[in-house]
């Protein structure tokens, strides 16, 4: 729509100001987190609060990083997120390729099973998974943290949606050129699927990095906690140390915010492609 007369232009200014206000309100809590984290450790519980830290310092961050196991929580989170993402992206690309481009007995049935199970609340699996992990002696271990994360049906759906858009002639051409099935997948499909793989990878990583309930249940020693669980325990232990807590929250939030700012377009694309319609 073109801005052609005075009335529409005024309307534009008004909506611009409204949008800025709403965006500021939505981002204010994150800003407040950073401001609190940058305060002097003693200042945070003094009144009145400061909108801009008059004397910013990283003291809260160094106090947070010096706490026991913080480094371990961070490496745990990183390791688990990377492992789950790697396996998910690869197995989902394989399965999505078969569902998108191959006809096989039972294929539709299995795919509808995946779709239908996206509606099942994950919490239904908590107790049985806990019992399985306990039987396998995987409680409080990396296996227990990683394995359930690999099983989500969402990735298969997302990859199928992406790969269905690739022209089938490409696969036929590859086969005529003498590529085997596996070669076709690795040499032709995977390179073309890169944007889709990136979207799935980013969303899987984000989901794992932020996951809370399962790591809370499956771990119980302080050294096996992930960053979100560790932060929640810290909140319990030192509920009034807001400077320290906000420094920890900022520390855990920054990797995802950086990834988001770097790969924005994949995030926005993933939301639209991932939406299941009818």
């Amino acid at each position: 729509m073109l801005v052609d007369d005075k009335k529409t232009r005024t309307g534009h200014y008004i909506s611009f100001v409204l949008l800025l206000g709403a965006a500021a309100l939505a981002l204010l809590p994150l800003y407040w987190m950073v401001v609190t984290a940058l305060q002097q450790p003693t200042l945070t519980v003094t009144f009145p609060p400061e909108w801009f830290p008059s004397n910013p310092t990283f003291l809260n961050f160094s106090r947070f990083l010096e706490r026991p196991h913080v480094f371990r929580w961070t490496t745990n989170s990183l390791l688990i997120s990377l492992a789950v993402t790697g396996v998910q992206v690869f197995t989902c690309a394989m399965a999505g390729y078969a569902f998108a481009k191959k006809q096989f007995p039972g294929g539709n049935f299995i795919f509808y099973l995946y779709i239908a199970s996206m509606m099942i609340p994950g919490q239904v699996t908590l107790v049985p998974l806990f019992l399985i992990m306990s039987r396998l002696n995987f409680l409080d271990s990396y296996w227990g943290l990683i394995l359930p994360g690999i099983a989500g049906p969402f990735g298969v759906f997302l990859m199928k949606q992406f790969l269905a858009t690739l022209p089938t002639e490409l696969i036929e051409a590859a086969i005529i050129d003498g590529c085997g099935e596996w070669q076709t997948f690795v040499r032709v499909i995977l390179p073309l699927a890169k944007p889709g793989l990136a979207v799935l990878g980013i969303f899987t990583f984000m989901g794992q990095w932020n996951e809370f309930l399962w790591p809370l249940i499956v771990t119980n020693s302080s050294s096996m906690r992930t960053l979100p669980v560790g932060l929640a325990l810290l909140q319990e232990e030192l509920p009034m140390q807001y400077g320290l807590l906000m420094a920890g929250a900022t520390f855990a939030a920054i990797p995802m915010i950086v990834i988001f700012l770097m790969f924005q377009k994949y995030f926005l694309k993933g939301i639209t492609v991932g939406a299941l319609k009818g």
């Binding site: 909506s15 939505a26 809590p29 609190t36 919490q123 806990f130 932060l231 988001f260």
Partner: protein, 296 residues
Amino acid sequence: MVALRQLGKRVFKARWAYFFILPNLIFYAVFFLLPVAWSMVLSFLDYQWWGIEFVGFANYSKVFADPIFWKAVVNTAYYTLGVVPLWLGKALIISALIFPFRKPLQTFFKAAFYLPHVTSAVILSMIWLWIYNPPFGLLNYVLGFFGVDPVAWLGNTLTAMPSLILMQVVMGGGSSIVLISAAMNGIPTYLYEAAELDGARPFQVFMRVTLPLLKPTLLYLVVTGTINSFQVFTNIYLMTRGGPQFSTTTIVYMIYDTAFKQFQFGPASAMAMVLFVLTAIFALVQFRWLGQEVEY
């Protein structure tokens, strides 16, 4: 016999397809389908470390006789009815405001509203605990200028749940905005031009043209938003622990508490089945509604 052999042939011909789905299918079967099935079985068992016993519907009758479970169901409904309409209304208004602007500005606002979504619910809960803090928090400080006395937002039964809802509405809506904007951009411009030629005012265009065409997207968002709100846990765990006086105990919080604090796996599984059935009802409603696609 012939049919069986033919099926065998077709399966053999498609062996690569099975090879491609197999790795994912194994993980999915062992760590998702099997647990779901086992959860159903568990809801009929008395599961103790010294032995397992079939108890029929005893877990269900125990759960349904528990007034706190009904309170959790009501609280979950309260939370959902609070969050979903406000959050969707916010997303709709913001998408409509964003729409007339140029692409880069649209992207800027979409990114700004989506940003809180990339941080975990743990972090957002920690921030809001600080904002809601009765003596020193930001909210009471700001309200103090208007002469409002400090309120223990999370500490009394009247304001605890609305405070949890408010937090979700202020921070949420980012992905809905992206989806609604995408749907709005998909509406053909000639429809707007025709409406303008007919002398429709912008508000009329929005109500009569845009809104009806957004129906599938909005219904999708209502259903997924409802299902997500049914599953709220992290905020409750960090901010209120279901209190005060069970005023913020939701179904999932109660499943967690029953299974992993009291180790009553049977009743916890029965509760999980109730959650499953409630979610399934909403999912089916979605499929019924969205079955009728809108045509341009």
